[in-house]
């Protein structure tokens, strides 16, 4: 059981949301090299520590937002930040 602090709906069980994944920088598709693009598609830091992730409140407000979560302890810190479905850092 993980309570995810949705900025609109308040704390919700993680089953009400979708974990989009670790936020990664999306390179410009027009100028990115294949290697950069594959890095964006597949490679993740996957740290056992604080990480910035994108969540989607699929059963609530249907908004994307970013949160800082410790993947080792499942604690959240800092208020949610706006996010988008591409999960980008920008």
């Amino acid at each position: 059981m993980l309570l995810v602090p949705c900025p609109n709906c308040g704390p919700r069980n993680a089953s009400d949301l979708r974990h989009v994944g670790e936020s990664v920088s999306r390179p410009d598709p027009n100028s990115a090299s294949p290697a950069q693009w594959r890095q964006y598609l597949y490679i993740r830091d996957n740290v056992a520590d604080w990480n910035t992730e994108t969540w989607y409140c699929v059963r609530g407000c249907r908004r994307f937002f970013k949160l800082e979560r410790n993947t080792a302890t499942n604690e959240f810190r800092n208020p949610p930040m706006p996010g988008n479905k591409l999960g980008g850092k920008a």
Binding site: H19, R44, D45, N46, N74
Partner: protein, 439 residues
């Protein structure tokens, strides 16, 4: 047999054999059993260091020693041997996969499991009890037919059976139409079954130990030492590995193998090798023991649940990975609730059974649900990771292949498709339908 019965690096003269006569005599006369593997000091250098003392790491060490005569090997683990996924899985083995490559790979694994008790001289309690993959829709049934035909072509005992035949194999299943997901048929795979996973770990460790391999538990890798690479400290592509830094000091080796499953990306990062891996826990649960009533392993891909009954009579359940990345092995109510609902859908008769405990293991998930095996851009640094939710059943053959790769310095054909560079080349291996979901 004394604890320090042999010198590291040399084959033991008289490895203690387990036998019925030995058990009887020990039982009657008492006395200490010999240590299963030696407790030796950590040396300053080895030919091969294997990080991760699970089935994959230990099997690699065992086959290095037995098939290739490479015995100056250390298996190091930050906890105890078999403390990760090898001791946390639901111990199901089978070979009825969908792709010909998958079938060949797992069939080899299954045959190694089949002869393991005599090969390793330890009772791994392999119970070849049959494996049922239920289909709940016409589409699923079509896939089952497809799988059965692929299997038959490769001489794997596998066939599609009707709900009535399913009922004959497992009488406790509800095959009526009033279920939310009625059973439309099943893929029946008689050679599938369950095995004692701890015994597999101990067997490989003992077998490797007898041939001179060293086991070092509570030895945590803090850094992977490299030189010549393009990154900081000589790490990264173009460099080569020189050893590892552990909590017990630096150890040098020209070859370091990463078999650390859920922690794989953290270890690889230490060598400057980025892996396309995320870590997600997979939960499992076990009930109180009851009289044996479930004769086969039952898997439902649609309900995403699998169940078998142990020799002690406990029902062992597994389901899908947790829906978010995580290094935490705590159980969740969501899992228990979903599991109970799905199990009761299949077997309404077990509604009064109580769960004894639930646990989780860390799975190293890849984007295409296939493993990452073999060489990396850092010379001497090999990986056998990305096994996700089905690493245990592939353990023996993975060890065999990794040992071959290390000894010959060439990627064996059987694992060529799983190389790390496939993510750069865009040649992903779509085993998802066959391996990751069906368990």
């Amino acid at each position: 047999m004394s604890v320090v019965g042999s010198i590291a690096g040399k084959v033991r003269k008289k490895p203690p054999r387990y036998s019925a006569a030995g058990l009887l005599s020990k039982g009657l006369r008492g006395g200490e059993w010999p240590r299963v593997w030696r407790d030796v000091p950590l040396k300053k250098s080895y030919d091969v260091i294997i990080i991760g003392g699970g089935v994959h790491g230990l099997a690699t060490a065992y086959y290095l020693a037995t098939n290739h005569g490479i015995t100056n090997v250390a298996v190091i683990d930050k906890s105890y041997l078999g403390s990760g996924g090898s001791g946390r899985n639901t111990a199901i083995v089978r070979s009825n996969y969908l792709t010909p490559e998958g079938v060949a790979f797992y069939d080899r694994s299954l045959s190694l499991y089949n002869s393991m008790t005599s090969d390793l001289n330890i009772n791994v309690m392999f119970s070849e009890r049959g494996h049922l993959t239920l289909a709940h829709s016409d589409a699923a049934l079509r896939t089952m037919h497809w799988r059965a035909e692929v299997n038959k072509l490769q001489n794997i005992d596998s066939s599609v059976i009707t709900p009535e035949e399913v009922k004959k194999v497992v009488p406790s299943l509800n095959i009526s139409d009033d279920a939310h997901h009625p059973i439309a048929g099943a893929l029946f795979h008689p050679p599938g079954g369950i095995i004692r996973h701890d015994a597999v770990v101990w067997g490989y460790a003992r077998g490797a130990d007898h041939r001179g391999v060293e086991m070092h538990q509570k030895t945590e890798v803090l850094d992977v030492l490299c030189e010549g690479g393009e990154g900081p400290d000589g790490k990264g592509a173009g460099g080569r590995v020189t050893g590892v830094r552990t909590n017990r000091g630096d150890v040098s080796a020209p070859i370091v193998v990463n078999c650390t499953a859920g922690w794989a990306s953290l270890i690889s990062d230490m060598a400057g090798v980025r892996l396309p891996i995320t870590t997600q826990p997979l939960q499992a649960a076990v009930t109180e023991p009851v009289k044996v009533f479930l004769p086969a392993v039952v898997v439902s891909g649609s309900l995403h649940v699998y169940v078998s009954q142990t020799d002690r009579g406990e029902l062992v359940f597994g389901a899908a990975v947790d829906p978010f990345t995580n290094y935490n092995v705590r159980g969740s109510l969501d899992f228990t609730e979903g599991l109970a609902g799905h199990i009761l859908e299949l077997m309404p008769g077990v509604s009064k059974m109580r769960l004894l405990r639930q646990w989780a293991g860390l799975c190293d998930m890849t984007p295409d649900y296939s493993p990452v095996m073999g060489f990396t851009p850092v010379e001497g640094f090999l990986v056998d990771v990305g096994w996700g939710t089905y690493g245990f059943k592939a353990g023996p053959v993975s060890g065999e292949m990794m040992a071959e790769a290390i000894a010959t310095q060439r990627t064996p054909e059987l694992i060529d498709a799983f190389k790390l560079s496939r993510f750069e080349d865009g040649r992903l291996v779509g085993e998802k339908g066959a391996a990751a979901v069906g368990h």
